[in-house]
């Protein structure tokens, strides 16, 4: 007897994996960064006032007709190639019909049985270097829907007083990547889920076909999970957790769904085929709408668009433009830079590969480039609540700054100030150093005076140093720095103090 499925407590992950083998499948929607929409000349832009980036096509006005965006087709072909897919020489759009107010025509123009790319694969590397091959069923083009805001109540449509709709997103070009069922990952399924989503995000970023910002919904992942008893080959009933909007959440959602399914199944219940909402705060999912395989969208070929013909020449032309696959590139750079795996992973996570690569190309040593970007620049970015990659700091600037330090013309502390002044728009680092007079004080006269003053004001410290506690010199450096506005070279200060006391440095 099947029983209520919602009240069974989730099993622990370990217990779930003892009995069941997870099966996953992913649908990732990638919003393209084309200038205009999929089928209209309205701007494809994020964050503008509601219903400003729309025209009669996006609003589904009577008589309006779609025209396919050629740049979106190129993006789709490039992505298909990057996913090792076959590219269809001939394909069409279809109308996927359902009534919903975020869909202005009450159908979504999508590709149904004729996707532009199909039968591909992607090798995904986990943190420990183990590689899984994910089979790609298809990548097809479609248009995004508008955005509904339910006012009053909980924010869900149920219980809301009214709903507002913004069609700016309606018609934004999307590519949907659908995997084949993924089996055999076992306990590593959640990890693999994150690695796969990361790999897809990196690919679309590398191809420069999407802004690839998950928090803005540029890349949205639907995670399908089902369980089958170990040793079985028959898939269980799946749930589909929709619109998981961070890489970590993808991992957590799969983790939770495995536990939830296992709880339901081991209590003798049956999993409901449905969509699930991801709840970030509790790291759980909640029931969405039932999803039947028999949903009838009354697909038929879109008669307002002509079929897309993709010649082999065109495909080869685009293939030649493909950048090095992100995974290969990372392997190559890690080796070339000699970073440890942990160091490199942090660089990747910070999104600073490009910056470090360029900084190295401008002449910095890889370690120095990493130190600047992962250190001071990241810290400054954090205080500004920005991505380090998004700060207005050019690799050439970093190289210049690094040289100033290496030449001993400024110290690390001054370098930080120079960077701040640079971000405030004061120009190149050497210019800032000159104009602001920040060069390290190496003039012994001024420095000696400052040291003498500090020694006179801190006789107890002097006494300690004379007593052999050389570390106590540190207490004199602070006052000297204060006196010289931080421009003193600490090593030099130490040297002068010892000299004054007649001690050998």
């Amino acid at each position: 007897m099947s029983q209520s499925t919602t009240d069974a407590a989730p099993l622990s992950f370990e217990a779930a994996l003892e009995t069941y083998e997870p099966v996953m499948g992913f649908e990732i929607h990638v919003e393209l960064n084309t200038a205009t929409k999929m089928f209209s000349s309205a701007p494809n832009a994020f964050g503008d006032d509601p219903n400003t980036n729309v025209n009669e096509v996006d609003l589904g006005m009577p008589g309006a007709l779609p025209v396919l965006n050629g740049a979106a087709v190129e993006s789709a072909i490039k992505l298909g190639l990057a996913l090792n897919c076959q590219i269809a020489s001939f394909c069409r759009f279809a109308r996927k019909q359902y009534f919903y107010p975020d869909t202005p025509k009450n159908w979504q123009t999508s590709q149904y049985d004729e996707p532009i790319a199909f039968d591909g694969h992607l090798d995904v590397e986990l943190d420990d270097g183990e590689v899984f091959r994910i089979e790609i069923e298809r990548a097809h083009m479609e248009e995004d829907a508008g955005k509904l805001t339910h006012a009053g109540g909980t924010g869900r449509i149920q219980g809301s007083e009214y709903s507002l709709v913004d069609y700016n997103r309606a018609g934004v070009p999307l590519i949907e990547i659908v995997t084949k069922p993924i089996t055999g990952a076992g306990a590593r399924a959640p990890e693999l889920a994150r690695a796969y989503a990361t790999a897809v995000r990196d690919i679309v970023k590398g191809l420069n076909i999407s802004e690839a910002r998950m928090e803005r919904g540029n890349v949205r992942c639907d995670a399908n999970v089902s369980l089958m008893p170990k040793g079985s080959a028959t898939f269980g009933t799946r749930s589909e957790t929709k619109n998981v909007n961070s890489l970590r959440a993808v991992e957590h959602a799969v983790h939770y769904e495995i536990r939830r399914h296992a709880g339901v199944l081991s209590a003798g219940g049956s999993v409901v085929q449905e969509t699930r909402h991801w709840k970030e705060d509790s790291r759980t999912t909640s029931s969405g709408r039932p999803k039947s395989d028999a949903d009838d969208y009354r697909y038929f070929p879109e008669p307002d668009l002509v079929p897309i013909s993709v010649t082999a020449d065109w495909v080869e032309q685009l293939r030649a433009q493909l950048p090095e696959p992100p995974a290969e590139r990372r392997r190559r750079l890690r080796e070339a830079w000699g970073f440890s795996e942990a160091e490199f992973r942090d660089v990747v996570a910070a999104g600073l590969i490009d910056q470090i690569e360029e900084t190295v190309a401008h002449g910095a040593a890889p370690a120095a480039a990493r130190k600047w970007w992962m250190g001071e620049i990241s810290r400054l970015a954090k205080t500004r609540d920005a991505d380090p990659a998004a700060l207005d700091v050019q690799p050439a600037t970093v190289v210049e700054l690094n040289q100033l330090v290496e030449q001993g013309r400024i110290n690390d502390k001054i370098a930080r100030q120079v960077l701040e002044h640079h971000l405030a728009g004061e120009g190149a680092p050497s210019h800032i150093v000159t104009v602001r007079g920040l060069e390290v004080v190496s003039d012994d006269g001024a420095l000696t005076a400052a040291v003498e003053k500090a020694m006179a004001e801190n006789p107890d410290v002097v006494e300690k140093v004379q007593g052999g506690k050389l570390k106590a010199i540190g207490a004199l450096i602070g006052p000297v720095m204060k006196e010289t506005q931080g421009q003193a070279d600490a090593a030099k200060v130490k040297e002068i103090v010892l000299e004054k006391l007649g001690m050998t440095p």
């Binding site: 025209n55 009669e56 609003l59 589904g60 006005m61 009577p62 008589g63 309006a64 007709l65 779609p66 025209v67 396919l68 109308r95 019909q97 009534f99 107010p101 202005p104 025509k105 009450n106 159908w107 709903s163 709709v165 028999a294 009838d296 009354r298 697909y299 038929f300 008669p303 307002d304 668009l305 002509v306």
Partner: protein
């Protein structure tokens, strides 16, 4: 009745160019005629008097000023035109003959309307039609039927009955229509006027409210073949806003319509488009037309199109499938009527349902239901899929026929205009009106209906068809028959319309 309005559009254009008449005078004469007779005819859903007169005055001003701007005027500048209310226009309501769009103002112009504005033809107003162009009698308009100027107790054809009746009743010299299965040609046939369905893709559909996207085509309605050709030439051409628009430049149809020589022209009589279901008088006039053409030197041959037997069935599946989808956008959310349900709860689904229940008429609902069923999972292959195969077979029939004939010929409609109400309760009988016009839409080829004489005082239409992109050929053949019949009868059919001035 002003004599001006009984001129052909070509004659009006010539008199305007020669400075013999002004466009304001000409436009006002048509507005007066509309005021006098349209209470009876109901061809217009909206009369655009002020803007039409403004455009006319502008043309007159430019012509009077002379110089380059006057020389640059389009030949039809200043000749008024009416626009079927399925085609969107800024500044005037566009209803599609439906309650659903009552009071709706389009924020943009259809491409054909843009072309008409650029050429400075005064737009007299919007003409009546079956709701969303679904019908063959204009009785399915939510704003009352249009009446046939030849007998106001009869239908003017449909869906473009308003445009055809306006032209026949001298309310407009030119009008735009749309033809999905005969909506320009069948009204032309039963009102003694001329109507063309152009090659699919040769006139932009942008701004024509879609019924069946793969079949719809905008075309001209006029009293003479030459006038239709001139308007066709103006509206044709590639449009980047319509993906199905053909890239080729438009040939000069006016020249083709000036050629009435048929010696040596091979004219194919379609075996399947005659006989049972066609009125004797219609077939009699058709035979007389064939005789006239033969006597003028045309070579009349018979062609066999065996798949035409299935054309009506295939058409009603494809048309209703596409229409069911195209009608989906009318839901009360973004524009047009919004009707709240009688009982709570007021959910979006229930608002959409109540809006569509109240906003759509019976024929529209009938086609939505038929098309929704035909596209449903499990039925798609049997219905929509099979219909598409029939469509291919019909295209092949045409290809074979055009191997032995330059143009094909048939009666346009199996009957003359029938009395209002006669077929309203019998959809199948109504659908059979389009039996001869549908194949051209399924194959995407051009076709024209020209007057073929009168049967018991009511007009009969003759249809010519040509291969895709052969629009010039239908004008050539149409002009030939028009001239032969005019010479034979001593007067054009359109000039014999009863005087129906009902108000002074």
């Amino acid at each position: 009745m002003s004599d001006l309005i009984t001129l052909t559009a070509a004659q009006m254009a010539a008199k305007l160019a020669a400075g013999e008449i002004s466009s304001v005078e000409l436009t006002q004469a048509h507005l007066d005629r509309i005021a006098a007779v349209d209470g009876e005819i109901n061809a217009f859903l909206h009369v655009n008097a002020d803007e039409a007169l403004e455009t006319a005055a502008e043309v007159d001003r430019l012509r009077a000023a002379g110089g380059a701007q006057a020389d640059a005027l389009h030949p039809l500048a200043g000749v008024p035109v009416a626009v079927k209310d399925l085609i969107v226009t800024r500044g005037q309501p566009t209803t599609s003959g439906s309650k659903m769009l009552e009071g709706w103002m389009s924020p943009y112009d259809a491409t054909v309307v843009t072309k008409i504005r650029q050429a400075k033809l005064p737009i007299l107003g919007k003409t009546n039609l079956d709701e969303f162009a679904m019908g063959s009698s204009t009785e399915h308009s939510a704003y009352g039927p249009t009446r046939n100027p030849w007998d106001t107790s009869r239908i003017p054809g449909g869906s473009g009955g308003g445009s055809a009746a306006a032209v026949a009743a001298f309310e407009a010299p030119l009008a735009l229509g749309t033809d999905t299965g005969g909506s320009i040609r069948q009204p032309a046939a039963v009102t003694g006027t001329v109507g063309t369905k152009p090659t699919y893709g040769s006139v932009s559909r942008y701004g024509a409210i879609a019924m069946a996207s793969s079949l719809d085509q905008i075309g001209p309605a006029a009293r003479t073949v030459e006038d239709a050709a001139l308007l066709h030439e103006l509206i044709a051409g590639h449009d980047p806003k319509d993906s199905t628009s053909l890239p080729e430049p438009v040939p000069g149809f006016g020249t083709a319509a000036g050629n009435h020589e048929v010696a040596g022209m091979r004219i194919g009589v379609i075996k399947q488009l005659q006989g049972t279901g066609y009125q004797d008088a219609v077939l009699a006039r058709f035979q007389e037309s064939l005789e006239l053409l033969r006597s003028a030197g045309a070579q009349i041959v018979e062609v066999d199109c065996p798949s035409f037997e299935y054309a009506l069935g295939a058409y009603y599946l494809i048309m209703s499938s596409e229409a069911s989808s195209n009608m989906a956008r009318f839901d009360g959310v973004r524009y047009g009527q919004r009707v709240l349900p009688d009982q709570p709860p007021v959910t979006i689904e229930r608002v959409m349902g109540a809006t569509r229940a109240a906003g759509f008429g019976e024929e529209v609902k009938r086609r939505i239901i038929l098309g929704t069923y035909a596209l449903s999972a499990g039925y798609y292959d049997a219905y929509y899929g099979s219909a598409q195969k029939i469509r291919t077979l019909i295209q092949r029939d045409f290809e074979a026929a055009f191997a032995s004939a330059d143009v094909l010929i048939s009666p346009t409609s199996p009957t003359v205009a029938f009395p209002l109400g006669e077929k309203l309760q019998d959809p199948m009988a109504m659908y059979l009106n389009d039996i001869a016009t549908i194949p051209a839409n399924l194959a995407g080829i051009p076709a024209i209906s020209v007057p073929g004489g009168l049967a018991e005082g009511l007009p009969v239409g003759v249809q010519f068809l040509a291969p895709a992109r052969g629009d010039a050929e239908v004008y050539h053949a149409g002009r030939a028959l028009e001239k032969l019949l005019n010479d034979d009868a001593g007067t054009p059919v359109w000039a014999q319309v009863p005087d129906m001035e009902v108000a002074k």
